[in-house]
Amino acid sequence: MEYTVGSIAPIFLSPVIAFVINAFFGRKLPRQGDWLATLSIFVSFIFSARIFGDFVFGQFATDYYIHKVFTWFDLSYGTQIYKIDMGIYIDNMAAIMLVMVSGVATLIHLFSTWYMDHDEKHGRFFVFLPLFTSAMLGLVLSDNLFSLFIFWEIMGFCSYSLIGIYNKKEKAGDASLKAFMTTRVGDVFLLLGIVALWTTLGSVNYVDIYAAIAEGKFLGQTVLGISFATFTALCIFLGAMGKSAQFPLQVWLPDAMMGPTPGSALIHAATMVTAGVWVSLRMYPLMVLGDITWFIAVIGAITAFGAATIAVVQTDIKAVLAYSTLSQLGYMIMGVGVGSYNAAFMHVITHAMFKACLFLSAGSIIHSVHEQEMPKLGGLRKFLPYTHFAMMCCTLAIAGIPFFSGFVSKDRILGDALYYGFMAGQNPLLAIVPILGFAGAGLTAFYMFRMMFMTFYGENRTHHDDHGHGHGHHDAKGHEAHGHDIHHEHLDVRQNVPLLILSVFTLGFWFCGTLTGQSFGKVFGAKTEWFKVLVEAPRVERFVNHPRQEFSKVDTKEAAHLEHAHYHHQTGYAGPNPDEHKLHSAHTIGAIASIIIAFAGVFLAFLMYIKGSVKPWASKFPGLTKVLQNKYYFDDFYIEVLIKKGLLGLNRGLAWFDMGIYDRFAVDGWAAVNRVLFKSAKWFDNVVVDAIGVDGTGVAVNLFNLVLRIVQSGKIQFYFIMLIMVLASYIWTVNI
């Protein structure tokens, strides 16, 4: 396997080039250069597909990785050696991620060319989309946390711009600001963690960090009282929380739907939000070493369940999808926490596929119906058959119905969670993790099918002519062209072929050799279990004193010493070596349980929204509904209390102090002091000499007679007195 700059760089660079060209000449190009963007992403898809092929259809080598380094800049002088390296690190995980990202991105670009047609922001949209994709690809490629952080932030910037792309809308501004700042909270901690690692190790290369963990370099070090590993792991995970919108930093993601739907599909569903999961997977050994996996698991569980509950009451189709995204991200993070490394990553991939598809379908609905309030939709399946088909597949997948990808990945997470919560002998309180997990699974099935039913089934409500209320939730499509008739959907390369392609990948067997996703009931044989085989938690001891490969034309062949595939069943690092038997049974139980729960959820939705035999519970629990509709009042709390009252109050106070008090008195005060001195001199003349002197004449008579006569007698003579007195004092002080 020969890898040169030429074969890897294009993955990252071709979108960048597209970005540059579109940024400068976009307006002059035909169709404002959207084809260029799409093409560039496709190019990087080709290149990453090649790598993917090498890694997957090459030999099953879990431990194979490419690591190339070049010096970005160099501060060395004399004895001080300080280089800052950049490089690429591709292992199986990266290869899979690359092909997923570029593939999904290609389809989304393709779809966008249709969706954004005749949109005023068409051009700008296709400036930021390729930049964003390239950043994501760069993040996946990058071999160290520092460059990861760089791409991480660039993605933040892109999402900021895409969310706020409809700049006429005040809400768009709010949403973009919120998104950037909320993620920024995590980012600064991530930066802090990176800095801490860097200063201690002298590098933030994954391989160096793994090696350091293996050599136990971190042991015994502490920062601000807590163990170094915990500190850095926590910082990095906080970063992940920001990016992956985990509780309590989840507030930004729902608002991020202000952007155009394909943008949301790419950023807030498929790729960017998974960056957080990505970094926590990359740093998994550190998390384990820092012993914060329980924290991760809990956070994930809370997010998974909480988001699901909110999704239940949403009426905006995009909002439902947004919260389902949150909830699914929760599952991924939970998976990382409970140590089901492989499944968590698999869920990243599967989720990316079906969630992208879901968003695109939503986009296609909105674009053709100009309506995104579910109560105003319904019965669309005869108008939008392809969309309906794709969306149904994805819904089945996300709901965790067997034979679909969601089932495969999510249920393995749940199984591990079950094991982690009840059998791994952890703190009993951690039982909350699987409980919330399963509950969330049920809710997921419920609200997803609720969405399907309300949108595609029942009678069509789109021709009710009051489009008035709820316009706030629309994106730009909502505004123009109300009351169009829904044109019947045809098979269109740009509209629904992407959906269909994506929906193909919602089938489970692409990802694992078994129908159930469990270890039993293999039908396709071990060869197709590529995913389980390829992806495993990095075994850090392999990286001790690894060679440093300069980025050179010729590739050094690590291929020479490859260990061959060996099926790792145990899931990475979940505490002490897990008991095979218990784990196995846990998975079985989990699978069965979640199947039951999923079907229960679907059935409930069916009863409520198709048969209507059960009234929706919203009416039953108004209070709860209100709480949920207000997203547990998190946004209000953050904005009203923390920011407006707390932070701004503090700032106003400080600013007032700075100019009003400090500057006025402490600084300008000096001038005042001088003036006072001068005044006092004057006062001495006028008051002491004249007033006291003159007025005092009658008062004191005998003893001070002389003195007073002296003082009262006019100015010049007072000068004399001063002269004599000072002279006397001089003479007095003569000491020889």
Binding site: R675, A681, I716, Y719, M722, L727, V734, N735, I736
Partner: protein, 488 residues
């Protein structure tokens, strides 16, 4: 004997010229009838004579020190340089008096007469080598100054200024004289050289008495250079006197007094350690107080004339620091400062005089927006103010720098900090004036009239050294470095 005396006289030409000039001016004053034609001639004559005097002085610069008239007078480069400064100052002020309307209108050359007289006294003081000549110098200086300060016969303020000056001067002179008398008694002579010879042997009561008498004696010089607390007459007299006179007072008596002070300090307070200590202490205290009082009081002034008066007090305070160290660098710094100070003060008063002639007052308001009324004047005035404040690249900075250098060499950081803070205070009021001149909005775009090209030429001519000495000050430093006085 006689030809020896004449030999001496050959060194004494400048003073003689001054005396001759004074008398001839008196004659001319009484002889010439028609003022307006004659005035220019008379002034021109006076200036020409002074220029001649300057020429002879420059001749004397190179000479080694000479003691003439039985050691009554020293002619050494130090005194000569001081005299040069004084003569230049006198010339400047005389020209100013010529153009100024502040002095009563039908003046022909009284000012010149008096000024030259004071100058003579100053020269005497600068090169006095025994107590008698010193005393005579002070009195010559004073008595004529009294007259000058009350030049505006018809104005009560001027007369009052003169009165105060007389009384205060009389008292200080008397006190000083009383001190001198005791010095004479204890040290047995009025010749500096013989007096110094006695000093090392002194101890006990005599030493204390000597110190006390020196302090008394110091009053006489102190009030001439108007240091705290003997400065009190200064603002009143400066305010009361006509502007040319004020300018004159701000330069000549101060220079002369400083010269005498330097000479006395060097002669008497290098030999005896005890005396040295207490004298240096006295000087430190006095300079600190003088600076602070001068600058702080200057802040609140609204009359520019008073402002300059107080600021001159501040400057003297700074100059005295040059004496503290009792070394050649100190003297060099003082001399350099004196030269620069003379030019700066002349310009400042020149412009102030002209403006107050035009507007009838010298408050800040007449300076408001001067830049729009008369750019050249405004820019030069601002530059001079910054120079007075000690900003580079103007010579005021170099002067300040030298003083700082001297005191810091002696590691007197405390007084250095005091001086530093004082220069900030000084900057404050100078910049306030500069602000009024340049940033202030002129009320009405009336151009300043009647500022003849001649006047502009004079101002610019005076300004050139202010700027030039700030950048290429090596030569002048060398001159004043060579001019440090030789004891014995």
């Amino acid at each position: 004997m006689i030809q020896q005396l004449f030999g001496f006289l050959s060194y004494y030409i400048p003073e003689i010229i001054c005396v001759v000039l004074m008398t001839t001016l008196l004659v001319a004053e009484s002889a010439v009838k028609d003022e307006h034609a004659s005035r220019g001639k008379i002034i021109g004559y006076a200036l020409g004579m002074l220029a001649l005097c300057l020429f002879f002085l420059i001749q004397n610069m190179s000479e080694a020190p000479i003691y003439i008239f039985h050691n009554a007078i020293t002619i050494d480069p130090f005194s000569t340089l001081i005299k040069i400064i004084m003569v230049l100052g006198t010339m400047g002020t005389i020209f100013l008096s010529y153009s100024s309307k502040d002095i009563y209108s039908n003046l022909k050359s009284e000012f010149a007469i008096m000024a030259v007289g004071v100058l003579t006294g100053g020269m005497l003081l600068a090169s006095a080598n025994n107590m008698l000549t010193l005393y005579l110098g002070i009195e010559t200086l004073s008595i004529l100054s009294y007259v000058m300060s009350s030049f505006k016969r018809d104005e009560s303020t001027s007369t009052e200024a003169g009165l105060k000056y007389v009384l205060y001067g009389g008292l200080s002179a008397g006190v000083a004289l009383y001190g001198i008398s005791h010095l004479y008694g204890i040290l047995g002579s009025i010749q500096f050289v013989e007096m110094v010879a006695k000093l090392p042997g002194l101890e006990g009561t005599n030493l204390v008495l000597v110190m006390i008498s020196f302090i008394l004696f110091f009053v006489g010089l102190g009030y001439k250079i108007s240091v705290f607390p003997f400065h009190m007459w200064t603002p009143d007299v400066y305010q009361g006197a006509p502007i040319p006179v004020t300018a004159f007072f701000a330069i000549i008596p101060k220079m002369a007094g400083l010269a005498a002070l330097v000479r006395v300090s060097f002669i008497f307070f290098t030999s005896n350690a005890a005396l040295n200590v207490s004298w240096v202490g006295l000087m430190l205290v006095i300079s600190a107080m003088t600076m602070t009082v001068g600058n702080v009081t200057a802040i609140g002034q609204t009359s520019v004339k008073r402002l300059l008066a107080f600021s001159s007090i501040g400057h003297v305070g700074l100059m005295i620091l040059g004496i503290v160290t009792l070394n050649d660098e100190g003297v060099r710094a003082i001399l350099f400062y004196g030269i620069v100070y003379m030019f700066m003060t002349l310009i400042a008063f020149y412009i102030t005089s002209h403006l107050s002639d035009m507007y009838g007052t010298d408050s800040y308001d007449v300076f408001k927006g001067l830049i729009y009324k008369h750019p050249t004047m405004a820019i030069i005035m601002a530059a001079v103010l910054f120079s007075l404040a000690g900003m580079p690249p103007f010579s005021g900075f170099v002067a300040k720098f030298n003083i700082f250098a001297v005191i810091i060499e002696k590691k007197l950081y405390g007084i250095a900090i005091v001086a530093a803070i004082n220069s900030v205070i000084a900057l404050y009021y100078y910049v306030k004036l500069a602000k009024t001149i340049i940033l202030g909005q002129a009320d009405g775009e009336v151009k300043v009239a009647g500022f003849t090209p001649a006047n502009q030429a004079v101002i610019i001519a005076l300004f050139i050294p202010v700027l030039f000495l700030g950048i290429f000050w090596e030569k002048v430093m060398t001159i004043s470095g060579n001019a440090v006085l030789f004891i014995k």
